[in-house]
Symmetry: C2
Subunit: 337 residues, 2 copies
């Protein structure tokens, strides 16, 4: 109400209340060290003047930041955009989980061209911990930092010699599930759409190969390895379809976004899904349920994934040295297969 003079800091408020700044600090922090009625007097003045202590100063003093850095390292070759649905979906879940714990989320500049990109954020003092959404091709950089900086977790593959803590799904198993399902549905020849340069994708492809070998179908898999993002997937697949003489009847897409493009390209080339060609995606993003036909896919539980990332991070902030987590992917059967 009476906003006649805006209070800038704790000292001014202290003067108004006729006490010392330290007392105000304690009062506002609900410390039992200050008498009930002086606390109430201070609170009243604070409310009246709409005063809130400066968070920056508090953080400097307490060496806490109240924020978690969330970084999306995009390999320099990658044209992949930050607004990729997968990133955004996981980011949304992280935002929910983090705010639930009273922490803000700092989306910071990511320059994988500069090898210090991670150190810069970690050392800035502005975050209590860092979550990486994807490791891109930066696994070794991440390892170096992880060695001395505990509160760091990453979404993504769990690679062989990896030193840092990660949460990801069992991509090999996911690939197996996909292929087995397609075989079950009667597919005889297969194509995999995705670039195995990314370690996750490579693992999925491996899983596919293993499942095919198991079924005695070792040599019926074609791979379209072009790097496939939302924008580039459709033309790439479309021209592949035009060139290919015998289009396979089972397509495994390395992501839902790619699967969507594949379905569209197939439809444009006169193939029906799932009649002529069965398609299976990967991720189970919300949009997978919105397509026509709805997309059969390998589900990665991103809600659980986000929750795990946050949980591990806070345990690490607490000093615990946590292990990586590998989630089991799940087959979700819908209309496209």
């Amino acid at each position: 109400m009476a906003d006649f003079k805006r209070i800038k800091n704790i000292a001014e408020l202290a003067e108004l209340a006729g006490v010392n700044a330290g007392t105000v600090s304690r009062a506002l922090a609900n410390s039992p060290l200050v008498a009930k009625n002086t606390r109430e007097r201070i609170e009243a003045i604070a409310r009246e003047h709409d005063f809130r202590p400066n968070v920056l100063a508090r953080n400097l003093r307490t060496k806490r930041a109240g924020a978690i850095g969330v970084l999306i390292p995009l390999g320099h070759e990658t044209a992949q955009h930050i607004s990729d649905p997968f990133f955004m979906t996981l980011l949304g879940h992280l935002a929910d989980a983090l705010t639930e714990r009273g922490h803000d989320l700092l989306l910071s500049r990511v320059i994988p061209t500069n090898p210090d990109w991670l150190k810069i954020v970690v050392d800035s003092g502005r975050v209590d911990g860092v979550i990486l959404i994807g490791q891109s091709d930066q696994s070794s950089v991440i390892d170096v930092v992880a060695e001395r900086y505990l509160p760091l977790v990453a979404w993504g593959a769990n690679l062989a010699g990896q030193a840092h803590c990660s949460v990801g799904s069992n991509n090999r198993r996911g690939g197996e599930l996909a292929v087995r399902h397609l075989i079950e549905r009667g597919a005889k020849s297969f194509a995999f759409f995705g670039d195995p340069i990314a370690p996750e994708i490579a693992e999925r492809l491996e899983g596919c190969r293993a499942a095919l070998a198991d079924a005695g179908l070792g040599d019926v898999l074609e791979v379209l390895p072009a790097h496939l993002t939302a924008e580039t997937a459709h033309p790439a697949i479309s021209s592949w379809l035009a060139e290919t003489e015998r289009v396979p009847d089972g397509i495994i897409a390395a992501s839902d976004v790619i699967a969507l493009s594949a379905m569209r390209a197939l439809s444009e080339h006169g193939y029906s899904v799932p009649g002529d060609v069965k398609v299976i995606g990967y991720d189970d993003l919300p949009l997978a349920n919105q397509t026509i036909p709805p997309l059969t896919t390998i589900r990665q539980d991103l809600v659980a994934g986000g929750a795990h990332l946050v949980d591990l991070l806070f345990r690490r902030i607490g000093g615990e040295k946590t292990d990586s987590i590998i989630l089991e992917p799940q087959l979700v059967v819908r209309g496209s297969s």
Copy 2:
């Protein structure tokens, strides 16, 4: 390399270099006041020890934050999730535009139940400005803060008595465009899917009504006003289709997400798109181009929108009192109409 002893602050580095802390500060800031070779010596030590000055302390001193708060106020009634594709898409563009300007992005807790939700962020000292993605039903709260806090811009409708600065598209005109297009394609009866409680949606609906009246078709519009999010839209539309005896042949969806659900529900009920029913969406999210058939929609240029938001914000940070911007929506004709 020689990381034998980690440097904690500028003073320690100063000691190593045999100079004063102030000099180090200036050297690291590339001030012309320090001699070239002392600067180089200091930089060498900093590099060797992998030292970077604490950002928090700098910000406290300079009263700059280097971060922009991005808030998504979700009206308390709304079940709309932060991971809504529209929000996420705009957020992605904002992240790109902001990092381009060297600022980070602070996604902060949004509690519209507490009327101070905006003040808390604004006064925290952690942000140089705030961008709101949507105003929800909080326009008056926003106005109050905007009165004393200049660097604040919002995405959304430009309402009549609104005091704060906003960027949004001409929703009325968007509604008109949609209806005119459907009429052109031969539609005779219409339905609008969306909840006019949100001001943007209300304006779109108004535009639809105006265009229909213009064409002498004033009484052929039905409105399904249920609040429609990704999860709730499909069942709502599905049961509406089941109940409705004469399903209209032109459907205007208040968003692409709703349009997707509508297309799916229509297909499940045996209607073909665009044969039996023509569908038009709103937004032109990336996913609109990925559907089968591709979605005709009213495009809001979110890249431009994000750029404008950021531009206005920085001009306001510079002290300028900017006006709101209204973008012209565009009809994008694809396969669904």
